[in-house]
Symmetry: C2
Subunit: 189 residues, 2 copies
């Protein structure tokens, strides 16, 4: 039971866009890997941009669900820790694993893409929800950095020094630390 062509185009495009960048990847390359001609791609997607849109809209949906959830809850330290946990899960979900990496790179190339603009807006809203308005500037920067720390581990550490699972656990721990105001620590609670 073979995947349909549309899905295979998305998989190949996502991989090449991530490895080489969006602009550096041509439709010819995608078609070649798929074993068809360029023209065939235009049956499934109306243009190159449309392939990207089909990829990133799933990620936008996830972020908007996360925002909806966070706004239904009171702004407490517990909520912040749970948001970090949920965000980490959503980044690691199979359908988003590759898309998150694709988005990390290609920010500049896709700066005008409507869906990308929305994703950036939603990320800013999430960092607003996670930070305390009355906190010191350092605490605010620290809390805003918490979500991004969950992306950083993968390219921060030397290859093979720590396992994927160790890196994930470590990033989560660092993100929790970044949430805490400088005055006290979780270990003292």
């Amino acid at each position: 039971m073979r995947e349909d062509t549309r899905t295979r185009i998305q998989e190949i495009a996502l991989r090449l866009f991530t490895e080489q960048g969006y602009e550096a990847t041509s439709l010819r390359e995608i078609a070649e890997e798929l074993g068809v001609t360029k023209a065939a791609l235009y049956y499934h997607f109306k243009n190159k941009d449309d392939i990207v849109a089909s990829l990133v809209e799933m990620r936008l949906d996830d972020l908007e669900k996360l925002l909806e959830w966070v706004r239904s809850r009171p702004k407490t330290p517990q909520m912040r820790r749970e948001l970090v946990e949920r965000y980490a899960e959503s980044v690691r979900a199979t359908r988003n694993l590759g898309i998150a990496r694709f988005l990390e790179r290609n920010q500049t190339a896709l700066r005008d893409h409507p869906t990308l603009i929305k994703i950036r807006e939603r990320m800013m809203e999430l960092t607003t929800e996670i930070s305390e308005p009355g906190a010191t500037p350092a605490d605010r920067v620290s809390q805003a950095l918490a979500l991004f720390a969950l992306h950083a581990g993968k390219w921060l550490m030397k290859e093979g020094e720590l396992s994927d699972e160790e890196i994930h656990k470590a990033c989560l721990e660092v993100a929790y630390r970044l949430l805490e105001p400088s005055g006290f620590r979780a270990s003292e609670l």
Copy 2:
């Protein structure tokens, strides 16, 4: 006493490469802003790649000087704090202010550029120097994140909420916190 053309090309290219991305910026655009034709650019630089090289080699020099310094010193907490301080200064130096931003974006587009590869290697070496081999995974990720925290503030915080100076001070403070092992805090020293 007017700037020479070569310098003006570098300034315009740096701005456009940063705003739009390297691949999305054509030599035609650069020439148009300068008020000359494409062909004139080829008198000053042998190709598009050469313009980038002329920009990023200054940054590579700075990183290598920083590495040389750090390796001449013992691995102590004081050294780590001083490294963060020096790195922050080097990012803020006028000649590097724009180049650092240009490098943050365009990582993917220039992934094969020889100078960029060296810069990435030097950054990895710096994060190696700044982290303690015996520390826990979380502490290691945290310490590696310290240098990158100095880049994050500019695009992390909402526009106009904090001044540039406040953001810089806050990032520095966050970087210092990331250096500390989770067992104790600087405020207790």
